[in-house]
């Protein structure tokens, strides 16, 4: 192997990249079908975006650690300001919105916030003296770092993304070694706060999504329609599926959002359980590689950042799949690398780029003994 393949290529993390390419290719095939058997409008732009963001990921992967550490807080502040700008534009424009129109690019700052909040927390805990972990300072500031973007995103309103931010942040805090009982207390508080949040914090359409998740049959033609149709699509696929381009649920528009949030159902209808397991295995390979990177990292910042990025990707995957299979309420979270959509591709490629970056740092700073 050494002789045949040039070193710059050989040193790439192929254990992750090959499954990723397979997944994106498979996603394109599903989108091809979802468009009624056509590359336009979904599949071609899906591949194009992946190519563009892969380049971006490679750029991220090549950043030096010091530069990243230096830029983390300014980046956090910048994205926070962008989120604030979204709020302001929305308030001036007379309606809530989630994105900024920057010339040709439509930017959704809440997506950027997901990896950035992970980095900011990793940076905080990396600089926090080891002895202070477990004291009140180690909870208050990170709490504020998570809460500020969460509040802004919730105000958009976008429950799914704000939960993703919270999840990524919480995992970094857990990995940083905060006392477990804090998480238990936090879990208890959440259990009490959830009903309160449900009644006072959620929009009516969000409340309805929760209630219909609990009992989808209560409203089969209304809010429960999404879940019901998604389950029909997955269940009717059987073991080997109905065949490529043969999915009636997606082609006849019974499945809502067959190319974005419910792309997995579209896939499962045509490729069946085999397709589903293929996707799950690929995600498992990618996430396992990510954990490997995190554990191999010698630097605390790199370790925590890598773990948080893996958690962020995982959150997307888990929530989306649980939603399409009727295990979670309908929250608008797309499936990484399969759903059509620039924002989710951007976020996930930032995460992958970040992991590749940590992977490179690991390679370049050989394992030392105990420091």
């Amino acid at each position: 192997m050494n002789g045949l393949i040039p070193e710059p290529i050989a040193r790439q993390p192929w254990a992750m990249l090959i499954p990723l390419f397979l997944l994106v290719g498979f996603g394109a095939a599903v989108l091809f079908s979802a468009a009624g058997g056509s590359m336009e409008p979904f599949a071609s732009s899906h591949l194009l975006r992946f190519a563009v963001f892969l380049v971006m990921g490679s750029v991220i992967a090549s950043l030096p650690m010091n530069f990243v550490k230096f830029m983390t807080y300014p980046a956090y502040v910048a994205v926070l300001l962008l989120l604030l700008a979204v709020e302001l534009v929305g308030a001036i424009g007379g309606g809530s919105q989630r994105w900024l129109n920057l010339g040709p690019i439509v930017l959704q700052p809440s997506e950027l916030m997901k990896p950035v909040v992970v980095l900011a927390l990793a940076r905080f805990f990396a600089t926090l003296p080891a002895g202070m972990v477990g004291q009140w300072q180690s909870l208050v500031l990170p709490g504020a770092l998570i809460a500020m973007p969460m509040v802004l995103v919730l105000a958009q309103p976008d429950l799914g993304t704000s939960l993703a931010i919270a999840f990524g942040g919480a995992v970094v805090m857990l990995l940083a070694g905060l006392p477990l009982r804090w998480f238990m207390i936090g879990g208890g508080v959440a259990a009490i706060a959830a009903p309160l949040a449900y009644f006072f914090g959620l929009e009516e359409y969000q409340q309805r999504r929760v209630t219909t998740f609990l009992d989808p049959e209560s409203d089969p033609l209304g809010a429960g329609y999404h879940i019901t149709q998604s389950k029909i699509a997955i269940g009717s696929g059987g073991i080997s599926g109905k065949g490529f381009n043969q999915g009636s649920q997606s082609h006849l528009q019974y499945l809502p959002e067959p190319h974005t949030d419910f792309v997995f159902a579209t896939m499962a209808e045509e490729w069946g359980l085999l397709g589903g397991l293929f996707v799950l295995i690929i995600f498992a390979l990618i996430l396992r590689w990510g954990w490997g990177v995190a554990i191999a990292a010698q630097d605390r910042f790199a370790r925590l950042a890598a773990g948080g990025l893996v958690a962020t990707i995982f959150f997307y995957i888990a929530i989306n799949l649980m939603m399409v299979m009727g295990l979670a309420p309908v929250v608008g979270i797309p499936l990484p690398w399969m759903s059509h959509g620039g924002s989710s591709m951007l976020t996930n490629m930032i995460c992958i780029g970040g992991l590749m970056m940590v992977n490179r740092w690991n390679r370049e700073t050989p394992r030392r003994g105990l420091t």
Partner: protein, 693 residues
């Protein structure tokens, strides 16, 4: 940093261990969720595969029933009384509509609906059970149909289709006989859970023959399997099975005669029944005024319903079967048969001085001046009441009641009709049971002249005429596939029949009470018997003028040719002011039967005076009514059954009207012939065989 580490007991190495430990736990939990997802996915696609496959298939494939073409209803010669017309129609299914009000408004704009129709549809949608289709319009032209079809994705719940609508060529003339069709009600669907009943465009028989022969006429629905998108757009046809048209029902009715009779009734309210004496075939069962089954089959409109409902001539009542009237003097031939059977010599005379004293009461003859010496024949053709008062006192009520029943009064015939009222033939036992009172002399007096408690429907009177004319126990039949019945049963001896026939001929052709009833043929003589039935006491009305509902009923039973009867029948005109309103109709109907051209000529002259034929007059009346009352109409009952019940209850009420004066002896009114005196007409006397006095 060193100091702090000492205080908290944590250092970087410990944190690294914590990280490794916790990352292992978190990674394991992620793996666990992955396994959970794989298990869930397997469960959905293996264990529940069949269920979801069915659901996906029922999503994808839309099975629409193609309503079968209804069988035709034919007259005896094979001409259609009810047929089908191809048309474009549009229905809505309320439970599939997102915003019914808005959708209906949109539809109304596309096909230019009238405001009252829009209001009707909206209120119908509100009351409906959701799954039942509601007709918006039929008879659309192709452009309207196409306009709706292209907008279907924006009009959920709207079902436009090519279909067939029921067509009754003679309209109101056959309304009561044939009935009409309409969308099945929720109750009907509950009784017969046939998906066809809630298929848009399918209609079941609601009344009359349409209802009675529903199963025969229904046919087998076709089916069309199509692939549809979630929004209901049809992607492609998968499979189509043609419908099988329902079988035709062939009636004994003579279509042209039915139409003629209905039109001849004209402005009056009444019925005409004509039977074939050789087979018992009902050739005509006309009841007018009527509704137009064509427009009823499109759904009963509020204005239309209100108009029919407010009409005191009750166009919704089938008077042939549900009109009960005191038969008046038309019972006299039957009573005569009873007297002959009891051995009374027909030549025995009774002196009529204008009244008869029984005990300390005097019962009046309609002819106050008296008929002089009256034998049985004169009793019939002059309709002398005193003769019958006298003879009835002699034989008693029971043989008379028995004979009335033998002739068909009080009888319910085995006919395929939705319901028939069978009336009353009173006798002492009946009165005791019903009122707890003894039979009185005046009860017999009333009964012998067809008044008091006695009630019959026009069909019974027609059957009685056929039985008297033939001497056989003729049973009426309505469909050609049933066997004629009763012809092997001899009711009356030949000589009795001959005697009564002759006397009844004299009613028309001799010195009788219906001189103007002669047929315009030299070789065909019609026999008959007039009847005038009072509904209120003499003090309340003279029976000929004043409020319509107090006027006398006019009746006439007849058969022809009198010496070899071929056709028999009855005409009853409600509140026509006496028998003079009835027998000219019988005369013209029989004229039409023997010479259609002559009959039509007479009818045309009459219709010119009346302002068009029945259908035209109904349309004109509707327009005027809608103009005057359009704003304030009462919507029709939700279920057709409610209409039927209401009509039936009113019919019973109306039949009871004449019972109010049954407690007293009815003082008969002068009969149809103006003076009651025989008309000096030598030719008639010769033709009638010189049996006159």
């Amino acid at each position: 940093m060193e100091l702090r580490r000492a205080r908290s007991g944590l250092n970087a190495t410990q944190l690294k261990h914590t990280f490794d430990r916790r990352s292992f736990v978190v990674g394991t939990m992620m793996g666990g969720i992955g396994v959970l997802l794989a298990a869930r996915m397997s469960y959905l696609s293996i264990a529940e595969n069949e269920k979801y496959q069915t659901e996906a298939e029922s999503n994808r494939v839309n099975l629409t029933l193609i309503p079968p073409r209804r069988g035709w209803i034919l007259d005896r010669n094979g001409a259609p009384l009810a047929s089908n017309r191809a048309d474009f129609r549009v229905d809505v299914i309320p439970e599939r509509m997102r915003n019914p009000e808005q959708t209906i408004d949109q539809l109304a704009e596309l096909i230019e609906l009238e405001p009252d129709r829009i209001a009707d549809i909206k209120s119908e949608i509100k009351r409906s059970r959701g799954f039942q289709p509601i007709e918006v319009a039929n008879g659309l032209d192709y452009d309207q149909f196409a306009a709706i079809s292209v907008r279907l994705p924006d009009l959920p719940g709207v079902v436009p289709q090519r279909g067939f609508s029921r067509f009754y060529p003679t309209g109101p003339s056959v309304g009561h006989l044939i009935g009409y069709v309409g969308a099945a009600s929720a109750e009907e669907y509950e009784l017969d859970r046939n998906p066809l009943l809630i298929t848009p465009g399918y209609k079941i028989g609601k009344d009359g023959v349409e209802k009675q022969f529903e199963q025969t006429l229904r046919g087998v629905p076709g089916a069309r399997r199509v692939e549809v998108t979630a929004s209901g757009r049809i992607v492609r046809d998968l499979e189509t099975r043609e419908d099988i048209q329902g079988d035709a029902v062939r009636l004994t009715i003579d279509g042209p005669l039915q139409d003629y009779a209905a039109r001849r009734i004209g402005l009056e309210s009444g019925s005409v029944v004509v039977m074939d004496c050789l087979t018992g075939d009902l050739l005509c069962m006309a009841s007018m005024p009527s509704f137009d089954p064509n427009s009823f089959s499109d759904g009963i409109g509020s204005i239309e319903y209100a108009m029919l409902r407010d009409d005191e001539r009750v166009p919704l009542r089938n008077k042939v079967l549900k009109g009960l009237y005191p038969p008046g003097s038309t019972v006299k031939p039957m009573v005569s048969m009873a007297l002959l059977k009891e051995g009374i010599d027909p030549e025995e005379t009774v002196f009529c001085g204008g009244g008869l004293r029984v005990g300390n009461r005097v019962f009046r003859c309609w002819n106050r001046r008296g008929h002089g010496q009256v034998n049985m024949a004169k009793g019939i053709y002059q309709s002398c009441d005193v003769y019958y008062y006298h003879m009835a006192q002699r034989v008693g009520m029971d043989p008379i009641a028995a004979m009335n029943r033998r002739c068909g009064l009080g009888e319910e015939f085995p006919l395929p009709v939705t319901s028939q009222f069978y009336g009353t033939v009173p006798d002492p036992e009946w009165k005791l049971n019903k009122f707890g009172r003894e039979w009185q002399a005046f009860d017999t007096v009333n009964a012998t002249i067809g008044q008091g408690y006695m009630l019959a429907n026009p069909l019974q009177l027609a059957v009685s005429a056929a039985r008297l004319a033939t001497g056989r126990h003729v049973m009426p039949r309505l469909t050609l596939d049933t066997q004629p019945k009763g012809f092997d049963e001899v009711d009356f001896p030949e000589d009795h029949v001959a005697y009564v026939r002759q006397a009844m001929s004299d009613v028309v052709n001799g010195p009788g009470t219906a001189g103007r009833g002669r047929l315009p043929f030299d070789d065909i003589l019609m026999a008959g018997k007039t009847g005038t039935a009072q509904v209120v006491s003499l003090s309340k009305s003279d029976g000929k003028s004043g409020p319509w509902r107090y006027r006398d009923h006019g009746l006439f039973t007849f058969f022809a040719p009198f010496d070899n009867p071929r056709y028999a029948g009855a005409v009853v005109i409600e509140h026509g002011g006496g028998s003079g309103s009835a027998y000219p109709i019988a005369r013209d109907v029989m004229t039409f039967l023997f010479d259609p051209a002559e009959g039509m000529q007479r009818l045309r002259a009459l219709e010119e005076q009346w302002g068009g034929n029945a259908q035209e007059r109904l349309a004109a009346k509707y327009a005027a009514y809608a103009e005057a009352r359009g704003e304030t109409v009462v919507p029709p009952p939700r279920r057709d059954e409610e209409i039927f019940d209401q009509v039936e209850a009113e019919a019973r009420d109306a039949a009871a009207q004449s019972e109010e004066i049954a407690d007293e002896a009815v003082t008969p009114r002068p009969e149809a012939a103006p003076s009651g005196a025989p008309r000096p007409n030598p030719v008639e006397q010769i033709l009638s065989g010189g049996e006159t006095t």
